[in-house]
Amino acid sequence: MKKWFHKPINRLYLYVDGWFNLAFGTVNNPLYHLGSLAFFFFWIVLISGLYVFVLFDTSISGAYQSVEYMTHEQWYLAGIMRSLHRYASDAAVVTIILHIIREFSLDRYRGFRWFSWFTGVPILWIVILLGISGYWLVWDQLAQYVAIGSSQLLDVLPIFSSAMTRNFLSGQLSDRFFTLMAFIHLLGLPVVLIFALWIHVKRLSKVEIIVPRGLAIGSFLALLVLSLVKPAISHEQADLMIVPATLNLDWFYLNVYPLLDYWTAGQTWVLTISITLLLMVMPWIPLKRNPPAAEVELSHCNGCGQCFDDCPFDAISMQARSDGARWKMEAIVDPVLCSGCGICVGSCPYSNPFRRSEVRLTTGIDTPAFSAHDVRTATTKGLETLKGQTVKIIVYGCNHGFNLANINDADIATISLPCTGMLPPAFIDYALKKGADGVLMSGCRSSDCYYRLGNRWMEKRLQGERVPLLNARADRSRIQICGAAETDEAKLLKEIDAFRQRLLTNKQASQTAEKEAGHD
């Protein structure tokens, strides 16, 4: 449940998100791919950086000249590469910041998600350090400013035996030190970054680090055009006998340095460390309890592995059978990793509401908070409330999309699930056969599932692209999918009206056809 401090930013985000859906569609909406966009920009930075490094001279006397050569002499290739290197780095920071804001606004950072958030904060620092070390290498007046500022900050820490800042005042800086910086920027920090990114996504399955092609092409072209129109240029060459006066700071990376003109290095550290710690402890302010973890009922598990394949958080593993049954494998749930989303319930072939032999519907894997049996009971009760209506519609939604309690039409019964991915397609068939004229699947906006993959699996199951499949004989014209967020009331109600009208027309047509058949 979102807290009061999420709501304003959440509503703003949803409106912006809606605008992006209009422009890009749900598949290419950049807000749904912020993490993978940051990865994409990182690849651009890496490839352009490799080319720039070929022409770069890692010495104090040669660094500036080599960068100037790239910028002005070989502008058509090295210059563009340099600009791409800079702008893609900046774009990565923009996407990372938007990624943080988005996850916060959607309350996707607490509870079982704490690990990804907690491990993501240091990544921001590593990226910032990469940028700072990169600016250092140009060895222009901005680099000089950054070098002295960084030394002031480092001198406060008990790392070096003597003040590092003095190296930049007495002009005794050696090529060896500069080579060390190049090593840190070119190899040290990138390796640390890749390792940190691996940890960051460790608790996710089917991690998307490749952006959709359309978005990749558009983003790359946008940066390429920017590199041609506004190529990256340097300041004057560094001169340790003068003080850089006016600086065109890269505020994405160098925003901390102006503080040193007003505060001591110690105070600046206190501020940055405080912000970092605050970000890191945010998943526990306030604490969010996870729903109970899914439980495996071995007597109904045939070890098919579909739940293992569908789990978005890598909480399910398959191991050798422990109960002596004839199947080879069985599913095991790690309660620490389980989000309680119920997507595994939707993927289990035993989640079949038509199984009349049992009083209580038991499935191979189930969520205690809202079980498959509860879904069947809610569906049956919902259909009973619709008796006597001209058109009977069952709307399945989720607890994170549009609040179904706001739909008060007499001919609609609503059932809110933890995630629409929890609903096995057989339940739709069940609802239609038990008297519903139509079933509308709502839930989160398409491609923006609170549990990452729930509505995607649901759509694929209904489209026959992923098991368990919807019964081939189920009438597709009586099934509608319409993802809706909190701000999409008008859109959803309009969609329901159109669906109702369609069902009514179909019903009348079939009744007429039946009458005509009776007369004949």
């Binding site: 569609g25 003095r166 005042l169 940066l223 506004k230 990256a232 003068i242 003080v243 700071l249 890269d250």
Partner: protein
């Protein structure tokens, strides 16, 4: 919405994105130093004198010690704080006492201070005291300097070279 209508909207969004990226990668410009100003940086590393006189052991005292510990001169570990005073044009610019580093106060101090000052001619008087056993400043240096705009003037301290050095 048809694809044809989407493309202009996408281009608009990409334009906004790269404009933000470009603008904040260079702007707004930051004035680190106002025109007509220079910077004086005091930067040195120095260990103060021991807080007490070193004592020479008598032959009898040495004889009582194990052979590997017969150091004839014994000095206290703790070093004196370093007091620095810089006066520019008869106005105090810095008056600070730097305590020795280390748990036992036996390390030196690393000093870095910078001051933004108007460019032009200035009279600098620098004084340093590195021993609690002397009453007054034991290093004093005066100099007349003419600072250009944006110049960085470094005041170093090297006792082996006579004390304060202006670079």
């Amino acid at each position: 919405m048809t694809k044809l209508l989407r493309y202009p909207l996408q281009i608009f969004n990409y334009f906004i994105f790269v404009t933000i990226v470009w603008y904040f990668s260079i702007a707004p410009a930051y004035n680190h130093l106002e025109p007509g100003y220079a910077v004086i940086a005091l930067a040195f590393g120095h260990a103060g004198q021991p807080v007490k006189e070193c004592v020479r052991r008598t032959p009898e005292e040495l004889a009582k010690l194990p052979p590997n510990m017969r150091n004839p001169i014994v000095c206290p570990r703790q070093r004196s704080p370093i007091e620095v005073e810089i006066i520019m044009d008869d106005q105090p610019m810095l008056q600070e006492r730097f305590q020795p580093q280390g748990f036992s106060g036996d390390w030196g101090v690393d000093v870095y201070r910078q001051f933004k000052v108007p460019s032009g001619p200035h009279h600098l008087k620098m004084r340093l005291k590195d021993s609690v056993r002397v009453k007054d400043f034991n290093y004093v240096h005066e100099a007349k300097v003419v600072l250009k705009s944006a110049q960085l003037l470094v005041i170093d301290f090297q006792p082996n070279e006579g004390g304060f050095i202006i670079k």
